[in-house]
Structures are given as structure tokens and as C-alpha cells.
Symmetry: C2
Subunit: 86 residues, 2 copies
């Protein structure tokens, strides 16, 4: 693995790991009051586009990071829609 | 601008814009109880590494997005340390 990808994967691990506790916390507490639906939608679409961009740039670290984050963002969006109805 | 960068800048606008309301909200409310210091540190270092990675990959959209987000992350980190002391 080259130096650039070592930096990329270090970045990927840090930003992905920083995001997971939010997903876990929302899943456990079902407290979605602090989450904004438009913000989550923007974020989900944005991360999906970064994933596509990562493929075009042939970047393994970007594809890995955004593949995980797009799933996390999907869950947050799902929780927001599901728990806001109650 | 080529097609890849159009996707990249669309992603950059969406994920950057989704993050700014959090910074604004924390600045106005000074409520940092829901923010975790280790998470903010990881995120800040991670975004900084994505910025470096964007330079290596010669990606204008990654550099722009992460330059803005690293400043946002820095402010959140600063607010967390400043307002946690009170």
C-alpha cells in the first residue's frame, strides 16, 4: 500500500469511528429530537456522492469510508423517520 | 470542470452544508453536553488527514470540502473545551 493510501485509511478509520457512536446512541435512546431531517437527507445524499466520487478517483480509502458512512447515515435517516412519528 | 469533479463538488456542498447547522447550534446554545471530546478529536484529526489526502489525490473538491470542515471541527472542539469548564 502506498503512502497516500496509508493517510487515506487513517483518515477513513478516524472519521468513520467518530460517526458510529452517534448511530449507536440514537439507536439506544430513540432520541431523534436533536437531528434535523433535511440535514440528514443532505448528508446521506452527499456521502453517497462521495462514494461514487471515490470510485471515479480509484481511491480504496474513500470507497471504504463512504460505504460504511452511507449505511450509518441511512440508519440515522431511518431512525429519524421511524421515531418522529410517535 | 470534468464530470468527476461535478460529482465531487456536489458531494462537498451537501456534506459541508449538513455539518454547518451543528456548529451554529453549538455556538448559539453553548450546549456541548451531547458532544464527546474523544469523538471530536478523532473527527478533527480524521478530517485533517482527508485534507492532506485530497492534496495527494489532486482533488479540488476534497480539498475544498475538508478545508471548510476542518475549521468547523476545530470550532466544535474549541466550544467543547471552553464550555465544558463552566
Amino acid at each position: 500500500m502506498d503512502f497516500t493510501e496509508i493517510i487515506g485509511f487513517s483518515a477513513a478509520i478516524l472519521t468513520t469511528a467518530a460517526f458510529l457512536p452517534q448511530v449507536y446512541k440514537t439507536w439506544k435512546t430513540k432520541d431523534v429530537s436533536g437531528l434535523s431531517l433535511p440535514m440528514l437527507l443532505m448528508f446521506f445524499i452527499g456521502v453517497f456522492l462521495w462514494l461514487v466520487y471515490g470510485f471515479y478517483k480509484e481511491s480504496p480509502s474513500m470507497v471504504s469510508a463512504n460505504a460504511i458512512t452511507v449505511v450509518s447515515a441511512f440508519f440515522l435517516l431511518y431512525f429519524k423517520i421511524k421515531y418522529s412519528k410517535k
